[in-house]
Amino acid sequence: MSTKNKKRYAFVIEISKCIDCKACMVGCMAENNVPVAHSRNWVHQKGPNGVYPDLGMSFEPGNCMHCDNPPCERVCPTRATYKREDGIVLVDKDRCIGCKYCMMACPYNARYFDEEKGVVDKCTFCVHRIEAGLDTSCVHTCMTGARTFGDINDPNSDVSKLLAMNEHHVKLSSAGSGPAIFYIY
């Protein structure tokens, strides 16, 4: 299989569409049985921006960026954290010892410690859903369509089209981790 045919899953998030309703967070918690004290995704409030009277707020949803070159994977001493062919970064719960080193290494603070299971956990890009041909839970719940999920190696996917048509950014590019969430402002 040539690299061209390889999938690379990613998110495109359109900041201007987010209204801070946090439905993606609630949807994810329910879908993935996330422990009450934690969350796998977030909505960060940015602003107020601008000069009075033209003030505005923006909201920046996010979750694990499923980095190309994930620092969490690099530092994991047990190989519990690994990256799949399609770019999805996962934690193997059988190998994880709960040392939390990966939490130190993630520039996005995308991981949490599951006290009950004693392991570290995070967003899985809803791998169980996409393998069944569904959208991720957060994309499915978002009522404004701020989140788009898909394969950026497929030029006909929605994410590729959005990226082709709009200027986009990644967060903390200086970390060099190659995040797979692209933001359109």
Binding site: P77, R95, I97, P107, G118, S174
Partner: protein, 309 residues
């Protein structure tokens, strides 16, 4: 990016500190053995005796801190060259074995259950092989934190140096403390040349530490925004007082002054060192506490820091 939670707490601080202390006593013991095993007999023996203990306690503590302590063996199912923790786990395991064997060779005859063949050679070999491993343990505790770009407060190569020299110094201080309390002093020995050996070694170490801290502070001011912001935790932020008063003043400057005073007769005329157990205990306890606080400030402070766009 926005929320900073302390995930590595006191137990990690204790572990980093104890591992460093063991490395320090081991290295001091081996150095003394290379300098003159007869003249520095007590240092060689005491250093070797003690070295496996703190690190073993530290590792036990670290296991308790894991989410799943009973799966710790997963660490030893693989070697991950890019993970300082993986390399460190292997170094620690090897170090504990080697330092324990070395300690055993120094046991009084009546304690020895098994008689080792070629004991002198085994002792020599543990020193030779153990020295780089012990230095590796000292360096690793710093690299563990320093190799994490996501925490700008940690992300300097100087951190590994600082932790190494601080580890050596806490090791020397442990021996100085024992030498000052002196449970089994042979009449004259620890008073003079052995005391001087420890003092001069420690003076060098503390001086190096000071000259590592200075560039860390200066550099951070001249660095990228994330690093400049992160140094705030010790320049006005929550750990300012602990760092400057605890680590720098009480943990480095005061003991350095005491040690220089103890050495002073030696500088002027070829006289012996000042031998005052009270001063000895004070300076060594201060160094040990200072070394602990250094790791406390760094471990906690780093977790408050994060990258900035």
């Amino acid at each position: 990016m926005e929320n900073h939670v302390i995930e590595w707490g006191q137990l990690v601080v204790f572990y980093l500190f104890l591992a460093g202390m063991s490395a320090g006593t081991f290295v001091t013991s081996v150095f003394a053995a290379y300098a003159d095993p007869e003249r520095y007999k007590n240092i060689v023996r005491m250093g070797s005796f003690i070295s496996p203990i703190p690190v073993s306690v530290g590792c036990a503590i670290l296991l308790l801190d894991l989410g799943r302590p009973f799966h710790f063996y997963n660490l030893y199912r693989t070697v991950q060259w890019t993970s300082p923790m993986s390399i460190g786990s292997w170094l620690l395991a090897i170090f504990i074995v080697i330092s324990s064997i070395r300690a055993y060779t120094f046991f009084p005859e009546q304690w020895k259950i098994v008689k080792l063949p070629f004991e002198a050679r085994i002792r020599g070999a543990t020193g030779l092989v153990g020295l780089p491993i012990a230095l590796g343990v000292g360096i690793y505790t710093g690299i563990l934190l320093g190799a994490i770009p996501a925490r700008p407060f940690w992300n300097t190569p100087l951190l590994a140096e600082l932790f190494l020299f601080s580890a050596l110094s806490t090791g020397v201080a442990t021996l100085l403390l024992i030498c000052s309390l002196n449970p089994m002093r042979s009449p004259e020995s620890t008073k003079s040349h052995e005391h001087k050996f420890l003092l001069s070694f420690d003076i060098v170490l503390i001086t190096i530490e000071i000259f590592i801290i200075i560039p860390i502070i200066l550099h951070s001011q001249l660095s990228a925004l994330s690093i400049r912001e992160s140094i705030f935790v010790i320049l006005g932020g929550p750990y300012t007082v602990v760092f400057w008063v605890g680590t720098v003043l009480c943990g480095l400057l005061v003991p350095l002054a005491i040690e220089l005073f103890e050495m002073s007769p030696n500088f002027m005329k070829k006289a012996q060192t000042h031998w005052n157990p009270v001063l000895g205990v004070t300076s060594s306890v201060l160094i040990i506490i200072g070394g602990f606080l250094l790791r406390y400030v760094v471990t906690y402070g780093g977790q408050l820091s994060g990258m900035i766009e």
